[in-house]
Amino acid sequence: MSFCPGCGKSDAGHESCVRPLDPPRFCIHCGRKLKVQVLPTGYVATCVRCPT
């Protein structure tokens, strides 16, 4: 099962959830909220449960 990185839900049809200026916010493997550190020239997104 995979999850939407924008809203964390598992059903299909979430193309509009992740906007171009948003980093992913949910883990695509487990749907949990990611720890996201936005940096001036990038970002780091980690799931507390899933290996990256």
Binding site: G6, C7, G8, P20, L21, D22, P23, R25, F26, K33, L34, K35, V36, Q37, V38, L39, P40, T41, G42, Y43
Partner: protein, 329 residues
């Protein structure tokens, strides 16, 4: 008409528009917006010069804020996708280094807090020192409401500018924030000035305020006379009370930029959050030739921005030199 008055008053005499005059600019019809931007650009060139101040920002403590600013995805009171996270010192220094590599002279450390506690002050203390030791860049901070002791400590650490936004007009503030007052923000800004740090105070356009309240905010900025005003346009964030608000139409955003420059002829007027959403690529250009003289390059606190190189290329194309570090010290 108002632009003729502004030409004589603001451009020639350097006296910013008052609240009623600013409102007249905000009410200009679409077909006059180009004229307003052109005049705002002339005012900026005459009173500030062609240089553009480039800044990068980073969040040292993201999310979990106890306050309820209705636009903010970092408030712990709303069910937003933002999860609390802290930045370690080596990553903070690296972020400053990356920012300096873009040619930026300013690096602002931001925390999602009501005001700093001792843990945050310790993190800032260590972080500012590490940046000063390793990177050639001015360090600014945005850590919320300060006590006098914290203000003194930040000044003594060499923090040269402090950001604390009024966010919106005093008459609208209660519709945006209920956990602290506009007056508390004003007091911190007075403290920052008293401490001898530069005052950076901005706002967000598009939070349900009227045009009259936009003019009121411009007048309140003018009364504060800050060194810098970062102008944000609301990016309605999922889960916040303002999630359902529409982004500011591009023409209104441009009108606001021109009006604020005419109200604040000498201030560093910075393009900040939401410009990509509201104005797109074209708007970046129009803003830069419409009164703006500073940009945040790269990403924001929780959202992404344009590629820094795109902004730097645009400045080169417009023959607007990036302000150098030596001129800011």
């Amino acid at each position: 008409m108002i632009l003729d008055i502004a030409r004589e008053q603001v451009l020639e005499r350097g006296v910013g528009l008052d609240e009623a005059q600013t409102l007249e600019v905000l009410r200009l019809p679409d077909e006059r917006v180009d004229d307003a931007l052109e005049l705002a650009h002339e005012v900026r060139m005459r009173h500030c010069g062609p240089e553009v101040e480039v800044e990068g920002i980073v969040s040292i403590k993201t999310g979990g804020c106890p306050e309820d600013c209705h636009f903010c995805s970092q408030s712990g009171r709303f069910e937003t996708p933002v999860r609390a996270v802290r930045l370690d010192i080596p990553s903070l220094v690296e972020a400053a280094r990356q920012t300096a590599a873009t040619g930026a002279t300013e690096f602002c450390i931001v925390a999602a807090v009501r005001g700093p506690d001792e843990r945050l002050m310790a993190q800032v203390r260590e972080g500012v020192k590490a940046i000063h030791d390793n990177v050639e860049i001015n360090v600014a901070c945005s850590l919320g409401i300060l006590t006098r002791e914290q203000g003194e400590e930040l000044r003594d650490l060499g923090v040269h500018r402090y950001n604390h936004n009024l966010e919106t007009a005093r008459s609208h503030f209660g519709h945006v924030v209920t956990t602290h007052t506009w007056e508390e923000r004003w007091e911190t800004l007075q403290l920052v000035r008293e401490m001898g740090m530069e005052v950076c105070c901005g706002g967000i356009i598009g939070m349900g305020e009227t045009l009259e309240q936009r003019a009121e905010l411009a007048a309140q900025f003018a009364a504060l006379n800050p060194d810098e005003v970062p102008l944000n346009f609301l990016d309605p964030r999922p889960g916040t009370p303002f999630a359902g608000l529409e982004p500011v139409p591009a023409m209104d955003a441009l009108r606001t930029i021109a009006a604020f420059r005419l109200a604040l002829p000498r201030t560093i007027l910075r393009f900040a959050g939401g410009r990509e959403l509201t104005l797109g690529d074209l708007g970046a250009r129009q803003g830069m030739v419409g009164g703006i003289n500073a940009v945040i390059v790269g990403n924001y606190l929780t959202t992404l921005g344009r590629d820094p190189q795109e902004d730097l290329d645009l400045l080169a194309e417009l023959s607007m030199p990036v302000k150098e570090l030596s001129k800011t010290l």
